[in-house]
Assembly symmetry: C2
Homo-oligomer: 512 residues x 2
């Protein structure tokens, strides 16, 4: 007879690319979010919590020629009608809210938002499909005073969560300055690689061979500065370059002189902000937009310095290129400047933990009206990793005091003990597993990282005492100790029942 | 010529059934979650944060005969492979975690979890598709001491968030006691409505006409006690009943005597827990499971009373029937006992804000092994509504101090003021909108619920003073006042620049 087919048991697994967080992983992140929220709030920002789900239409990640809008987002169709999706960042919901409630919200609207976002991307080591973002943005403030404020706030946030001054730097650049450099740059229309070697001669060739340079191509190229260095960027901006694998990467087609002025921009940082501004100004020529960008940086610098945020915390640095493609004015990036040893034993700078900038098309998609906005996002998970890497958080969490159960019949008394401890402000619990094997109770206390275990058998109860076991001292012995050995250690105290709370407090406080 | 077709602008709307939370709505809920988390943690519970997304297989809401598992959950298929879904509660992910990490987690495992859950249900007034749950559960603790602990913890949580003792009650019942009553109950096999009117005669009819009663049908019926009253339940348990619309509702088919013993169970609450236990015991007859249930209630009562949780906080009450269909042992429900006036002006009891119980099949789906578990869930949104209804939270939030901008050129000085205020611990911001219309700045401060506005024009700057406007006092006048009127009010103070912080603090403190 054939066996009846059994329904297989479901697999108990976290979905691919997602993860679970336990105990201190949760509380450490919560503490950091609380600290950051406190700074944001102190600056006048108001909390906003939107739902995790948005219409795909509002999110704007909808690809009209694709059946299902799943490029990078988790999306699904509800009842053959609306496509909805999990938010992939905090900015898209802010745009929707700023448009939806524009009659009711104050202008400017300062808001902060913290919570998970979801990305439908291939997961990798340390890259998850759900992670936290922690943003602050000001909508409707055209002045760069709003940008300066965000920079100061980023600095305050980093110090608040425990990064000492000197271990981080907020660097500020401006897309308009780069625009000033790019204004009027030409690239050769013909295939760049086939060009004459004489760059200087190129500018004399007839204009119809040239067209205005594509800023995006230049942005993509200078973004590789850290990877290929100055010489590499120069090659890529002009005629192209062979990469490590031997493949040839086409160049952008700038003349050498133009490419050098782009690189000069990136290297324009001087000894002081004033020097940097002077350097930049000298590069701007007659560009109006470039001069506007330099003036904005100057204003930001002055505003910050008048509030005491000097170059030890925030500097003007044209080498910041990340985000220049997206933002329309000032951009900022917060970096940790200390070195850490990675999992492969390599020493490296920790790098960027926050960034942002000014963008002016936030609400326009919805209302047709341009609204200036600026803001930043703190990478909470990276920042936590940094604090852990430097031992600033992640010291062993202390578990609860465990009241063990020697006699099941006296559970009342054990629960009363635990209640007394809690009322005294001490985290405590009674052992609620099967009490038969006392060794298991001590192993449990060990696993829970309990500082103290309380033991009271019938004998102790009769004599009106309890045994108090110092488990921090005893951790090393605890692995193999039997109850009898355990009771004889000097790190165990017998105290009268009514002194239990005081003794437990004394032990816990001696370790804090 | 036909007009070129324009892409319509996206609609800025929250998806149907979802909502946005602003400012104090966010911070009040956060504060409540923090308070509850503190109590949970104090009891030895550890935080667990699972991802919002689970495999449908693990969630167990998969309906095998339905193409798409969307009954009540938001689910979608990833890349033609796994179906995944948003979690609909915190218990299903706990079951998955308890199975997945069973080698690593301590036993018992006490965990708490708080966060949004999603329900794909028809939204209604006050019913949203995303809402918060706030759970604590103990996995692997067979003793009812674990249940007693959860009840005590619920009581502590309610007091911690601001419900005074006397304004709530935690009521405890036990499914096993009901089972004891149900044991051996028979229903007539024949159509109930056609039965003889003489109930007493029914028991004498031959046994083959009868079968064991379906406990679920009885549970569904007694759940209607609040709606149809004792007489209604008696009818529904026996021959049936005509409802208000005139439709006839079939009865369960119990004999009148059996129905009366079910009702006697629900009404068994005595003046004290001891009385209630005595009443229940007298109803149990020879039922072993019933006696076990009564003993468990007795033990819970003793454990709680020895910790000081008397009947003013927690009572044994067999009238608690909600959840009896789901849970396998003790069940508990926390209710607010004060009356509130609803939106239609009707006075009603606020009712249930938390509930839970013991369930023993949590992990079995995954591992085949039964693991005892017990826990409770606090309805944070309902609890917040209760605190708001009684004015315990929701007093007008105080906004930041607003430093107004009289001269755009002196932004440095305004930013410095704001920085000084913040450093003194005072929430403050500078007005960052267009400063041209000063009236708009005051309207802004009003909208922000600012306690104080700082004003410094060129004249004041020259004299080294600032104007400090008390906006709480001035709220009523503020609507129509022009700048000049504003400046002449007695609720405005001119103080030397270096006394600004002190004066602002004085005003704010006078209102707190």
């Amino acid at each position: 007879m054939a066996k009846p087919k059994k329904t297989p048991r479901p697999k108990a697994v976290t979905p691919k690319g997602f993860r679970d967080y336990f105990g201190t992983e949760v509380s450490e992140r919560k503490q950091m979010l609380d600290q950051i929220a406190e700074v944001y709030h102190h600056y006048g920002f108001e909390a906003l919590e939107t739902s995790a789900v948005e219409t795909v239409e509002a999110l704007g990640k909808f690809l009209p020629d694709v059946d299902r809008p799943n490029e990078g987002v988790f999306a699904w169709q509800e009842d053959d009608s609306d496509w909805v999706a999990l938010r992939y960042d905090m900015t898209a919901p802010l745009a929707r809210v700023a448009a939806q409630y524009r009659q009711d919200l104050p202008t400017p609207y300062r808001r902060f938002a913290m919570g998970p976002v979801w990305r439908n991307e291939k997961p990798g080591p340390g890259r998850f499909r759900q992670f936290y973002q922690c943003d602050a943005d000001t909508v409707g403030a055209p002045s760069v005073a709003a940008d300066a404020e965000i920079c100061a706030m980023l600095s305050d946030c980093l110090e608040k969560v425990g990064i000492p001054r000197g271990d981080y730097i907020v660097r500020v650049n401006n897309r308009k300055v780069l625009n000033g450099i790019l204004e009027g740059l030409l690239v050769d229309n013909e295939q760049t690689r086939a060009l004459p070697k004489d760059f200087e001669g190129m500018l004399e060739s007839k204009a119809s061979d040239w067209e205005f340079a594509d800023p995006d191509a230049i942005l993509r190229t200078i973004d590789k500065f850290d990877k290929v260095g100055e010489a590499g960027v120069l090659e890529l901006l002009t005629t192209g370059r062979e990469d490590q694998s031997g493949a040839f990467i086409d160049g952008v087609g700038l003349s050498k002189a133009d490419a050098e002025s782009v690189i000069a921009f990136m290297k324009a940082r001087g000894a002081t902000n004033a020097d940097t501004i002077k350097n930049l100004r000298s590069l701007m020529g007659n560009s109006e937009i470039g001069e506007e960008g330099v003036s904005e940086l100057e204003e930001i610098s002055t505003l910050l310095e008048s509030q005491g945020y000097g170059p030890d915390r925030i500097v003007i640095d044209p080498a910041v290129v990340r985000g220049l493609g997206y933002y329309t004015g000032p951009v900022y990036e917060a970096e940790l400047t200390f070195e850490v040893t990675d999992e492969k034993g390599r020493v490296r700078e920790f790098g960027s933990v926050a960034g942002g900038g000014r963008y002016d098309d936030l609400v326009k998609r919805f209302t047709g009206q341009a609204v200036p906005a600026t803001g930043a996002s703190i990478g909470v998970d990276r920042l936590l990793a940094a604090l852990r890497a430097t031992g600033r958080i992640g010291s062993k969490a202390q578990g609860p005091v465990v009241v063990t159960v020697m006699d099941r019949d006296r559970m009342n008394e054990y629960m009363t003990m635990v209640s007394e401890l809690r009322q005294a402000g001490i985290r405590a619990e009674v052992y609620l597993g099967n009490p038969k094997n006392f060794g298991n109770q001590l192993k449990y206390a060990d696993k829970r990282m309990s500082p103290v275990a309380i033991i009271q058998g019938g004998d102790e109860a009769e004599r009106g005492v309890v045994q108090i076991k110092d488990l921090i001292l005893g951790t090393k012995l605890a692995e193999s100790a039997s109850v009898e050995e355990w009771k004889d250690r000097p790190n165990q105290y017998e105290v009268p029942r009514d002194q239990m709370v005081a003794k437990v407090r004394e032990i816990i406080e001696s370790y804090s």
